[in-house]
């Protein structure tokens, strides 16, 4: 049924439809709408779940690790400082092979205090062993959240569904909300691979010596590799029931493109507009939207970008001392592909600054007219200020 929903509501609807049994959350802007709605669903009986009102994000993730280990489906949502506080336990959740699902609203990290959109928070967790799905609109947010449970429970790794602060979390859009029966067909009840059970006593996550640790890590590495194919399978199952599929990456007008934008999240919609305008003027430009960031779809990225003469990554994030993080990943994916195109890196929209169509057109013509990147990262839409000394 079509409904007009905020991105936050889309997450909450998906969590309700996924029949999550334990929710734990701590308030942080702009994630709070998600957990307020879920709290209401639990209080009014629309969901049969326990809601743990914990005293920090760290305890939130710890509680979910406990609950998932005891055999139930779980959910939390957070952003920014809250996600950073969870960091230790993000590693733990993945190492313990727990298919926890999280809604992550991309918000800038302090200081200065900034509640607006920026991807550095979730990208800084890229080495934790969580799968990460970046969404473009609220429909994708809802679909990705339902899909995340199937994916996580197939792979036995936790999954983060990432949405832009305000651009998605607080923006109303028409969203097709599936029927419970449809979701039930796609997502069977959770069957844990192992659980805390006095009838079958196991020790979970005990001391592990050098004799076994490396094999355990390798097992996670293999699971992440398998996840690429499983993602496709699960998306196929989803598409058969819901009629929608997105792909780990989406190629937009890449076949004859000279310049290919690489995007993630809501800015992809802005790039689509810019592509329409530029294409109408005869410009050979395309885009590659990266939805699945972990595991990174290296082959698909290589295949798509090798069609163009130049790739340009728009990063709403930055790794100090290096470059935009998607740009790093794209460069790493291409470097062993012979004759790969040069990768231009642009930093835009940090801390909630708008990324406009004008800005993206400007980037396009700058790249079109350059033979090779002069710098690893070009910051656009920046005001001139005196440097702090």
């Amino acid at each position: 049924m079509k409904k007009v929903l905020e991105g936050s509501q889309a997450v909450a609807e998906a969590v309700r439809l996924a029949k999550v049994q334990v929710i734990s959350a701590y308030p942080i802007t702009p994630q709070t709408h998600i957990v307020e709605i879920l709290s209401d669903y639990v209080a009014t009986g629309r969901m049969n779940a326990k809601y743990l009102r914990v005293e920090s994000e760290h305890s939130c993730m710890a509680a979910l690790i406990g609950a998932q280990s005891a055999g139930v489906r779980t959910f939390t949502a957070t952003c920014s400082q809250g996600l950073a506080l969870m960091h230790e336990l993000l590693h733990w959740a993945a190492g313990a092979r727990l298919p926890i699902v999280m809604g992550e609203v991309n918000r800038a990290l302090a200081p200065g205090w900034n509640i607006w959109c920026d991807q550095t928070d979730s990208l800084a967790q890229r080495d934790t062993g969580w799968m990460q799905l970046y969404c473009e609109d609220s429909q994708e947010v809802l679909d990705a959240t339902i899909l995340a449970y199937r994916l996580a429970e197939r792979v036995n790794l936790p999954t983060m569904v990432v949405l832009d602060a305000f651009y998605l979390s607080h923006t109303y859009e028409p969203v097709d909300v599936p029927e419970q029966e449809e979701v039930d067909r796609f997502l069977p009840p959770y069957k844990p691979a192992f659980t805390l059970d006095p009838g079958h006593p196991y020790s979970l996550s005990p001391l592990v010596t050098p004799n076994a640790y490396m094999e355990m890590r390798h097992d996670i590495a293999l699971a992440m590799e398998d996840a690429l194919a499983i993602f496709d399978e699960v998306e196929g199952e989803f598409a058969r029931i819901m009629g929608r599929r997105y792909g780990a990456v989406e190629e937009i007008d890449t076949d004859d493109a000279d310049v290919i934008f690489v995007t993630s999240g809501a800015v992809t919609s802005t790039v689509r507009l810019v592509l329409e305008e530029l294409r109408s003027r005869g410009e050979k430009v395309g885009a590659l939207k990266i939805k699945l960031f972990r595991p990174f779809p290296t082959e698909a990225v290589r295949r798509a970008l090798s069609k163009g003469r130049k790739a340009v990554v728009v990063d709403r994030n930055y790794s100090f001392g290096a470059s935009g993080i998607f740009a790093q990943e794209v460069r790493a994916a291409l470097c062993n592909a012979p004759g790969h195109p040069p990768v231009f890196g642009y930093i835009a929209g940090l801390g909630g600054r708008d990324i406009t169509t004008q800005m993206l057109s400007h980037i396009y013509f700058e790249v079109k007219e350059s033979e090779a990147p002069l710098r690893e990262s070009v910051w656009v839409g920046r005001q001139e200020v005196n440097r702090a000394t």
């Binding site: 334990v22 049969n48 326990k50 005293e55 406990g66 005891a70 055999g71 005990p206």
Partner: protein, 293 residues
């Protein structure tokens, strides 16, 4: 000893605790009383190692090892999941050291008991970070040497009174126990098991390695901690009703301190001062219990 479950053995020999380890004695008696329908949450502490490395375990109950500061939170999640699965019979127990309780895990513990989460939290207290090699915690007593309070820099601050901090949360049941008083310990574990809501047990667990005492003195020194009023045995219901369980013979603290290498540097004046502190704490406890000195 009239104890219904003393034949039950849920802790195996072959654990890797040090000789004379008080924490293993505490675990053994606690498990005898808790029984098989128990899930244990084990944040980082000596017992993370004592239980044995993968794939071995010296515990015959399901255990979830978890990060240092997460005992209260992880147990909240385990309990919530069991409730959702309709399992009200299984007892969830956190088994944490003093570092994981008094220091790094205090926030998660306070948060959990404020929510009156339905589990037992047991802190076995060996008065320092023993697993990492004897560093001071906020449970380390006044006067003690540790590797981070060494030489003339021995700890000159009081031990945090963890039971009173928990009592301030008005939880249904909080109590102290001691490995040298197993009947009292077992009774309290049983009482905790039969109570609903947040329950807290603070068990004195001597550490020959960290306290610089011979292994065979472990239980004797634990007994002296009670007899000198250094570690009184008492319980508090609903944050209000105090009961003192053992009226000690009131040995001088000097006798307790003299036996332990960790207090070797203390002067007679220091010991007099400590005696004054212990007397003051004991009198405060008596007043709370409505008794006279």
């Amino acid at each position: 000893m009239q104890l219904e479950a003393m034949d039950r053995e849920l802790m195996c020999s072959g654990h890797v605790g040090c000789p004379g380890c008080g924490a293993t004695i505490a675990m053994r008696f606690a498990l005898k009383t808790l029984g098989e329908k128990t899930i244990m949450v084990l944040p980082a502490c000596c017992w993370s190692v004592i239980a044995g490395p993968f794939p071995q375990s010296s515990l015959k109950i399901p255990v979830i090892h978890t990060a240092f500061e997460t005992g209260g939170a992880t147990a909240s999640g385990v309990r919530a999941a069991l409730d959702m699965r309709g399992d009200e019979e299984t007892t969830v127990v956190v088994w944490a050291g003093d570092g994981g309780t008094f220091d790094i895990g205090f926030q998660a513990l306070s948060g959990a008991v404020e929510r009156n989460e339905n589990f037992i939290y047991i802190c076995y207290d060996n008065e320092a970070y023993m697993n990492t090699g004897i560093q001071r915690s906020s449970s380390t007593p006044y006067g003690a040497w540790t590797t981070t309070t060494s030489g003339s820099d021995w700890k000159k601050l009081r031990k945090k009174n963890i039971v009173e901090a928990l009592v301030a949360h008005r939880i249904p049941y909080a109590a102290t126990a001691n490995i040298a008083y197993p009947e009292d310990l077992v009774r309290k574990v049983r009482k905790a098991r039969e109570t609903k809501g947040s329950r807290f047990l603070h068990i004195y667990a001597s550490c020959p390695t960290g306290w610089r005492i011979p292994a065979e003195m472990s239980v004797r020194i634990a007994r002296m901690a009670v007899q000198t009023n250094i570690f009184p045995l008492y319980e508090v219901e609903n944050g209000i009703d105090y009961t003192i369980n053992v009226k000690p013979r009131e040995y001088l603290v000097r006798e307790y301190f003299k036996l332990q290498g960790r207090f070797r540097h203390l002067s007679e004046e220091d010991l007099d001062q400590i005696q004054g502190m212990v007397n003051e704490d004991w009198e405060r406890l008596l007043r709370k219990a409505g008794e006279r000195a």
